[in-house]
């Protein structure tokens, strides 16, 4: 699809556009104020990296990166909503923890990357057109590197199944959910049904959360 041995102006321009978009959206991940927005900005960053892989002639790797990252970020988004119900990011949140340490670590890594990029020696072996890269990649994955990739694959599938199991209602509330209601298992049946064994104080303030009179859903 793309002649890698002698890239056209179009390829050069595309590279810089994708690269700039990847860096820019990566930076926005930390500056935005909602978890869902951060998740999808990270996705945009990855998609741009995937596009650069495509420009490099890695047809399968590029598209697979697009595909995998999309699914992974979607999994992240479902947890973001489950844990933080924040439609349209109305409730602003700070996206960084320990910002100083993170910034220092980030600059060190960035410096390392610069050092490698400027002083490293990169192979210069353009792909000859018509070479069956996908077949070669498949042979590699299912040959010498099979154990690594298969273990990673099994771990990923287990994680996906695990997350679905954990978030399903039946797993959270047991078989009785919805019928008779259910309560968390008591640690001490005498003290009551609370996991800590301590009956929490009932909060009496109706609180800020219950005002507002439901402007949104009033159809």
């Amino acid at each position: 699809m793309i002649d890698v041995s002698s890239p056209s102006v179009f390829v050069h321009v595309s590279f810089w556009v994708f690269a700039a978009a990847a860096v820019l959206s990566g930076w926005r991940v930390f500056r935005t104020d909602s978890m869902v927005r951060a998740t999808f900005l990270l996705l945009v960053s990855f998609l741009n990296v995937g596009a650069i892989l495509l420009l490099l002639g890695g047809a399968y790797l590029g598209v697979a990166l697009l595909f995998m990252m999309t699914v992974e970020m979607t999994v992240m988004a479902i947890f973001m909503v489950a844990f933080m119900m924040n439609p349209a990011g109305l409730n602003p949140m700070v996206m960084v923890h320990q910002p100083r340490l993170a910034a220092a670590a980030g600059w060190v890594l960035f410096g390392g990357g610069i050092v490698v990029a400027v002083w490293g020696r990169f192979p210069d072996r353009p792909l000859e057109p018509g070479r069956p890269v996908i077949v070669e990649l498949g042979t590699e994955l299912m040959g010498r590197s099979m154990l690594i990739f298969e273990s990673a694959a099994v771990a990923l599938v287990a994680t996906m199944i695990g997350s679905v199991v954990l978030s399903s209602r039946r797993s959270r509330y047991g078989e009785a959910a919805g019928d008779d209601g259910s309560l968390p298992p008591p640690l001490d049946p005498v003290l009551g049904t609370y996991p800590t064994g301590v009956v929490p104080e009932t909060s009496t303030d109706g609180g800020d959360g219950h005002g507002g009179d439901g402007h949104g859903g009033m159809h």
């Binding site: 909503v81 489950a82 844990f83 933080m84 119900m85 924040n86 439609p87 109305l90 409730n91 602003p92 949140m93 700070v94 978030s167 209602r169 959270r172 509330y173 959910a177 919805g178 019928d179 209601g181 259910s182 309560l183 968390p184 609370y194 996991p195 929490p200 609180g207 800020d208 959360g209 219950h210 005002g211 507002g212 009179d213 439901g214 402007h215 949104g216 859903g217 009033m218 159809h219």
Partner: protein
């Protein structure tokens, strides 16, 4: 030129109607779905004409005002009522009034005039102000604690709280109703959601007033008619709009047993009974059983009002919101809906 042509074409479209059901209407407007000139829509954002049916005293009137302002321009309002001297909220002050049994003609005419620009689109009746101030408390001024909670600009935000399973995750307080599709008239649900699972629920029925009713059920076929109207509503919720129209058509006249049986067969094959099994169990009866009972033409017609709102609220806890909607819709809750049947029986 082109714009005028598009407007003329739009004027001939089936009219998207949002029906706000007030007091004294039962399940009535469901039957409007039968008419090919109309399309009953589930959100006011999809409608050009708001049909406010019945009585709207007090808080119900405020709710109508809100819904009225949610319709996109061009929009118009019709008040379909049996009691023109009743409470008349701001949204209905300039609305044309229909008192006869069939408002379809008026709705179609209103839609055409609106699309062709012959009459002005309804102005908003409420000020475009956020219902809550931006409070200046909390890390970002949203009124909550830290980065959570509060009611910035009128929408309650999620706040950490104890869940039924002993975790402490974010919980979002929501108020839904009273004009939601499938909801009994005047019902408003105050719920606390975690993800889409109901953690707490309170059901409230707004005052529906009293006076003459719009929905006069045929005393002879009242029970069957009510069941068919109920079916039409339930089928629409389940995504079976075409079958809902079929049920609504049957509800218009005393239906032949054969056509009722044909409808029942289609509903059984749709997988709806299977989908509803195990949902909203009260007194050992789930939503499926309540559906199947209404499908059966030979079952005894008419029944007492459903369980109390408190019992239904108890069952909602632990369900995801979609199941909660099914549960609520599957009963004849002791609101305006059930009264129609009892009146017809008497």
């Amino acid at each position: 030129m082109a714009v005028a042509a598009v407007r003329r074409l739009a004027a001939t479209a089936p009219v998207p109607v949002f029906v706000a059901r007030g007091g004294g209407t039962g399940l009535l407007p469901v039957e409007l779905a039968f008419d090919a000139r109309l399309r009953l829509v589930v959100s006011p954002r999809h409608a050009t004409v708001l049909v406010a049916a019945g009585r709207f005293p007090g808080p119900l009137g405020v709710a109508v005002d809100r819904v009225h302002d949610q319709l996109p321009a061009p929009r118009g309002t019709l008040w379909w009522t049996a009691d023109v001297d009743g409470d008349r909220p701001a949204a209905l002050r300039d609305a044309s009034v229909v008192t006869d049994a069939d408002p379809v003609g008026s709705v179609v005419a209103l839609h055409r005039d609106l699309c062709l620009g012959r009459i002005r689109s309804d102005a908003a009746v409420l000020a475009d102000d956020p219902p809550n101030r931006f409070e200046g408390r909390g890390d970002h001024g949203q009124g909550g604690e830290g980065m959570m909670g509060g009611v910035p600009w009128g929408r309650p935000m999620a706040m950490t709280g104890d869940d039924r399973d002993g975790l402490a995750l974010d919980r979002l307080p929501v108020v839904l109703g009273p004009f939601l599709p499938g909801f009994p008239n005047g019902l408003r649900v105050h719920a606390v959601l975690q993800g889409d699972v109901v953690q707490e629920a309170k059901l409230e029925v707004l005052d529906l007033g009293s006076g003459p009713r719009l929905d006069r059920l045929d005393p002879a076929a009242g029970g069957a008619q009510h069941d068919l109207r109920w079916l039409a509503e339930a089928l629409r919720l389940a995504g079976l709009g075409a079958l809902a129209v079929r049920a609504a058509r049957l509800a218009r006249a005393a239906p032949a047993p054969a056509s009722r049986a044909a409808l029942a067969r289609l509903v059984r094959r749709s997988g709806l009974p299977a989908a509803w099994s195990g949902v909203g169990v009260i007194d050992g009866e789930d939503a499926r059983a309540r559906l199947v009972r209404r499908l059966d033409p030979s079952a005894p017609e008419g029944r007492s009002p459903g369980p109390s709102l408190e019992r239904v609220a108890e069952v909602l806890v632990g369900q995801d919101w979609s199941d909660a909607v099914v549960t609520i819709c599957s009963f004849d809750l002791p609101t305006d809906r059930a009264e129609a049947v009892i009146e017809a029986q008497a």
